[in-house]
Symmetry: C2
Subunit: 416 residues, 2 copies
């Protein structure tokens, strides 16, 4: 991609925001703030989201999930059956009405809708287990949206729902998803600081599980045992649980966490409320066991920025970076240098390397370096009068640069 | 994909719907009706949508479009500036409110929001032209949703917006998009029956352009000249236009059309209303010229079903079919036959052919053939006792079948 063509350019000296993720993502041209907690994804931001989605998609398919997309419009009567329509019970609804006056809600979650739909497709044990997932925009009418894209009113989630014949079948899948989630957070670059966390359960189970990434802007307080790679949400913290998990109080650190994922067992409660039953092998009617499994896709992008940045901008992990290489051409009014930079750009594209080439003739060197640092692609290459026959190579997360030949550059990028 | 694992299976003897597209798509397990005009995309339906999106994406990038995703939540004050907030002016709004009482709308279109956003990024002629597009769910509070997914309350659109420095620059892009749209409709399989159609313009231009696919369930009446590959929407039909287009009344046929795409020049009206100006090369302040370009992605899926079906189900064009091959194994309780079918399935997967394999042991032959016909993949392969060492090959749109060797099958599929 040519930076001269990229929409939009970085913003210099713009508005100040309350969080690093909002500041860098807005200034860097990744997102646009429509209103508090409501952000559009601009081309650079969309590239990151697509990369995170791809990583998540692969693991969801690996556990046997099938992708679908439910609707945003929700029927009131469904949510009344589970007592989650009333604003006193669920305080994040956006509600509206059809022309004929029928009230509708905008989905903040999808358990009710998917479970109701399953009544069309599940009647026998032969139809089970079923695991479906979606990438879907959720609308949540938060009283206070905050921390940039970490707590939004409109955001992208991956949510999966499992329907099983028994507790045992359910538990097996639940454990598989825990492993899949661990892989996902490793792959997006949050593995070291993301902890499987015990949190409050519901009618069916004592605990649910969260995946908490340690960061000061997180909303939760968690106690973490770094060695055992386990954490406990403050809301369920007590001695009994410590004993149960064989964790010593002394090994725990009290920290802030951002919930990037959660998994939850509904057991048979929702199936009973919505009347989703199946006939087992003996012809006996039984309620289906439901689990739900979320990952906050846009939140992951925000947490990545919070974890990986310096005073000049973002430092994306390579696997989710918008481009692998940020190529800067300086002194481009010199025809020879321009040719050389253009040639390298084309060579990189031919080698299927994602490259953003700052080809602007007017912009000053300082502007170009500032844009590269703010956008945060992992490798910066510079071609200029000063670099002569060579190319300057610098990693975003390192101070030192080197002068390399074209061959050395392409060889190194192959290994990347 | 194994049909035994696919969610969901086809529905037999279910509810009757008012349109072929709703009937076949729901019975075939492509979509689920949540309420009138509101449909979830199930795995098979999502595959088709993804294929249509991919075709559209490629052409939008080819004309220099950059992908982003705007938000569903809309600020009232923006739409007031262009006088499109009032329900008397725009009768398809879903409206809601933030916790603090601030009214918000759910996006039925995005011109206002994108144009307002552009004020952050466009100030000079150097920032232009810009062409951005998105695949985004639109919510439209239709009084009467009808014709299955052809007119929905929640549906997927591709919408592109162009920002240009002059009428000439705008017109050049507008003409490019017309060509790109023609390619898109050819590629999805609607080329023969989709016509560039003159429709009513606005303050800025005499006409807008629609792409109308001829189908009885279409909502529009158009006069089509099949030879000249041109059509006129009844709303603007008059002798003056016929003269202008050099079309003879005798060559026209009055038919029903479904609007699958539209392109529209706003000129400088919206930029003036929302205050989007730029400085030209001489430092003069000028309003930006705006065009908008839509394709109804879910509607295209519906129109495809309306065009390509028979009494047994859908007949997908290969390029958008959920799978290229529908492989049926019969007599699978015979271990040898089961092995052979499994082997062919794996061979096809290894050759990167998309295949849905009906591996159910319990289902009767008739059920399997009915499912294959309803789902409508282009090639049906059968392995059974009767086929011996060979494989039965049948196209979905032909009556005759042939017995081929494995090599003949794989050779033919390569050419496909």
């Amino acid at each position: 991609m040519l930076y001269s063509k990229l929409f939009p350019k970085i913003i210099k000296g713009g508005k100040k925001y309350d969080s690093i993720n909002a500041q860098y993502l807005i200034d860097g041209g990744f997102i646009h703030q429509e209103m508090a907690g409501v952000y559009a994804l601009l081309p650079l931001g969309l590239r990151i989201i697509e990369k995170i989605k791809k990583i998540v998609l692969k693991e969801m398919i690996a556990v046997g999930g099938q992708e679908l997309i439910m609707t945003s419009l929700q029927r009131k009567e469904l949510w009344e059956k589970t007592d989650r329509w009333d604003d006193e019970k669920v305080d994040v609804w956006f509600k509206s009405a059809l022309k004929n006056g029928t009230e509708v809600g905008l989905a903040w979650s999808h358990e009710e809708q998917i479970t109701e739909m399953m009544k069309n497709y599940i009647s026998s044990y032969r139809d089970l287990p079923v695991n479906v997932f979606q990438f879907q925009t959720k609308l949540r009418n938060e009283l206070r949206a905050k921390s940039g894209i970490l707590r939004g009113r409109e955001f992208l989630m991956k949510d999966m729902y499992s329907y099983s014949t028994s507790k045992e079948e359910h538990q097996k899948f639940y454990d598989q998803v825990i492993k899949a989630y661990i892989k996902v957070f490793q792959k997006v670059g949050l593995g070291d600081d993301t902890f499987l966390t015990f949190a409050s359960g519901g009618a069916f189970t004592q605990f649910s599980h969260e995946f908490q990434t340690l960061t000061d802007v997180g909303e939760d307080t968690v106690f973490v045992d770094r060695k055992k790679k386990i954490a406990i949400n403050k809301e369920v913290f007590n001695q009994e649980l410590l004993d149960q998990l064989k964790v010593n109080k002394e090994d725990l650190e009290e920290v802030r966490g951002a919930e990037v994922g959660n998994i939850f067992s509904f057991g048979d409660t929702k199936s009973k409320q919505l009347n989703l039953y199946f006939n087992d092998e003996d012809g006996q009617k039984k309620p289906v066991i439901l689990g739900s499994y979320g990952i906050g896709i846009t939140r992951v992008m925000g947490v990545l920025v919070e974890k990986f940045n310096d005073e000049n901008g973002i430092i994306w992990p390579a696997q989710v970076a918008p481009y692998q290489v940020h190529l800067i051409g300086l002194d481009l009014k010199d025809v020879e240098i321009k040719k050389k930079a253009q040639k390298l750009y084309e060579q990189l594209l031919d080698s299927k390397i994602e490259v953003l080439y700052d080809d602007r003739e007017e912009a000053r060197a300082g502007e170009k370096f500032a844009a590269a640092d703010l956008i945060g692609n992992p490798i910066r290459l510079v071609i200029s009068k000063r670099t002569g026959d060579k190319i300057e190579w610098k990693k975003r997360n390192e101070k030192e640069s080197e002068l390399l030949t074209i061959n050395e550059v392409t060889e190194r990028l192959k290994k990347y």
